[in-house]
């Protein structure tokens, strides 16, 4: 069709550019915020996803690793192994502590020390970019972001809980929002935490993950019969619990900002459509006089709205993707995940924006009196 909508819109290039820019900004704001959300989710569940554990045995009442604390006596692994379907059991001992970087004086930072079984490697780092994967006593594998921020490398030392540790490896994808993981032997971890008789979780690998839920119940019952109150979560339950926590904080912190982005978008598109409509109001009266119906008029506004919305989205998405690529090179802790869900959510938001923004101009056009065409 002869797109009067686009012709009218492109007639004023400056205004179009400003509004597309505004929508691009709104898109970037939303995509970045949603990307932060997905990024946090990915970072914080990466350990659970990468670790060979189908079940997590923790103290009764456990929910996630942030809000609930789990402490169990050592030595339950033999008991858990008795439950049918269990293949392997490993200890997880980990806690956030202050670490001092010896090289940099007065430089303390929270790290989450994880002590793992170095013979099986279960619970340890999964991807190493430098050095070795398995530390020995007195050694530590630190995260890439931590190493970059502190300017440390293989051979440097850090101190945690009074224990001096030499960096022997640098791992990837082991940074979670505010702290990074540091991997040590479980013996060193016990020493750092000063807790020789306790650990935090047992990680259970089962023969057939299909029966994981049933095995979880059996482990709970068996431990209960021994007087130990434990809760057993499947990997997915544990991941979901973390997601729940992230969702909660997202809805209070990030969502309002996303909504601001949304309203910026609606306002920018709305104002552009409104001024573009007012400017040509006499011409819309002509169209109505000729015989254009409501549908035709609505389509004009909608087409303009979608043109601005989609152009803005494309620019905003391209800039966001570029930023998501480039920013981690300078600030690796800033992880924005622009995945397909993010793109879809943002796109749907832009479409919704365009529709909302059309409402007032459409009302305006509905009220145009075609009889005015005869007036000079």
């Amino acid at each position: 069709m002869v797109s009067i909508a686009r012709k009218n819109l492109f007639h004023d290039r400056g205004r179009l550019l400003i509004s597309v820019g505004g929508v691009a900004f709104a898109t970037m704001l939303m995509m970045t915020l949603i990307g932060v959300y997905y990024g946090i989710f990915t970072e914080s569940t990466m350990y659970l996803k990468k670790t060979r554990a189908d079940l997590w045995v923790g103290q009764e009442g456990i929910h996630d690793t942030w809000h609930t604390y789990s402490l169990l006596p050592k030595g339950l692994d033999t008991e858990i192994m008795q439950v049918g379907g269990v293949k392997e059991v490993h200890e997880f001992i980990g806690r956030a502590v202050m670490a001092e970087v010896s090289k940099v004086s007065e430089s303390k930072e929270t790290v989450f020390i994880i002590g793992f079984d170095t013979s099986s490697g279960v619970g340890g780092p999964w991807e190493i970019i430098k050095g070795k994967k398995i530390p020995r006593r007195g050694q530590v594998v630190v995260d890439r972001v931590f190493a970059m921020r502190k300017g440390i490398d293989i051979g440097d030392t850090i101190k945690a809980g009074g224990v001096e540790l030499t960096v022997v490896g640098i791992s990837k994808d082991t940074f979670v929002l505010v702290y990074s993981y540091a991997f040590v032997t479980k013996e060193d971890a016990a020493e750092i935490f000063g807790a020789r008789d306790f650990l935090n979780y047992y990680m259970v690998e089962v023969e057939n993950p299909f029966f994981a839920k049933k095995i979880a119940t059996n482990i709970e019952n068996r431990l209960r019969a021994r007087g130990i109150k434990a809760d057993v979560l499947t990997k997915q339950e544990f991941i979901d619990n973390h997601k729940e926590v992230i969702d909660e904080s997202f809805s209070v912190i990030l969502l309002p900002l996303v909504l601001i982005g949304f309203f910026i978008g609606v306002t920018v598109i709305g104002l552009t459509l409104y001024t573009a409509t007012l400017e040509k109001i006499k011409e819309y009266a002509i169209l109505k006089a000729i015989g254009a119906g409501e549908g035709f008029m609505v389509r004009i506004v909608m087409e303009q709205a979608f043109t601005i919305g989609i152009l803005g989205f494309l620019c905003g998405a391209a800039l966001s993707l570029a930023a998501a690529r480039l920013v981690p090179a300078v600030a690796p802790e800033f992880y924005v995940e622009i995945n397909s869900s993010n793109l879809v959510v943002s796109f749907v938001a832009i479409i919704a924006m365009s529709i909302f923004a059309s409402l007032v101009p459409i009302r305006k056009l509905e009220r145009v009196d075609p009889a005015t065409v005869f007036q000079a």
């Binding site: 069709m1 002869v2 009067i4 012709k7 009218n8 492109f10 007639h11 040509k280 006499k282 011409e283 002509i286 169209l287 109505k288 006089a289 000729i290 015989g291 254009a292 119906g293 409501e294 035709f296 075609p370 009889a371 065409v373 005869f374 007036q375 000079a376």
Partner: protein, 226 residues
């Protein structure tokens, strides 16, 4: 009879500020007739055209277009009627400023739902016949007044409407251009197609089959009109 008005009255406003712009007007126009509506400024010509276009509801009276009483129709039905049966020409040309001459002429066809290709072909042929072949891709602002009005005539007739309604189509043109525009309209009238043209331009008279004289909202016999 293509157009028939019976005792049509239009009062603008109410109370002490009420203006009786059209006052008990009755007339009819046959198919194939070119009727000129003459009268001084403020006599109610434009209001009468607006009424028979269905763009304004009369305060009282009946208007028939092709046998259909239009004062009872809904906005939607009136829009349909205008699209199907009426072509408009205005004093100020009223082309859509962001569209080229060709696109302006295509517009009524597009609104009617004619395919873009067909609309283009028909509009091109018409513009060529109107001597505007070389000006088709220009925006209105790049056309002279005479060219703009010829484009406007093309837009009015491209759907082959039965009625052309024109309000002062020559008022903004010099006499040569005015005559050209009137010739184009004249050529289109006949074979069942009619036109009603409001004008106080005496030169238009020679193109008319019949003249209606209007004064103070009422039609006068020619001999009463000075």
């Amino acid at each position: 009879m293509l157009i028939e008005a019976k005792g049509v009255t239009k009062v603008y406003g109410s109370g002490r500020t009420a203006v009786r712009a059209v006052n008990g007007v009755s007339f009819s126009i046959d198919r194939g007739e070119l009727v000129l509506l003459m009268g001084p400024s403020g006599s109610g010509k434009t209001t009468l055209l607006t009424l028979i276009s269905g763009l304004l509801k009369p305060t009282s009276g009946e208007i028939y277009i092709d046998g259909v009483e239009i004062t009872e129709l809904s906005q939607k039905e009136l829009a349909r009627l205008r699209l199907e049966k009426i072509g408009f020409i205005f004093q100020h040309f009223n082309l859509l400023s962001a569209l080229t001459a060709l696109e302006n002429v295509m517009m009524p066809l597009i609104i009617k739902g004619v395919s873009k290709e067909e609309a283009r072909t028909r509009a091109e042929e018409l513009l060529a016949a109107f001597g505007l072949a070389g000006r088709m891709h220009h925006l209105p602002e790049d056309l002279s007044g005479g060219e703009q009005q010829r484009v406007a005539v093309a837009r009015a007739v491209v759907t082959e409407p039965e009625i052309i309604i024109a309000d002062e189509p020559t008022a903004n043109l010099d006499s040569k251009k005015g005559r050209e525009v009137m010739e184009l309209i004249r050529e289109r009238v006949g074979q069942g197609k009619s036109a009603i043209i409001a004008s106080h331009d005496p030169r238009v008279k020679s193109f008319a089959d019949r003249v209606l004289y209007m004064e103070d909202g009422m039609l006068k016999a020619p001999e009463e009109y000075q």
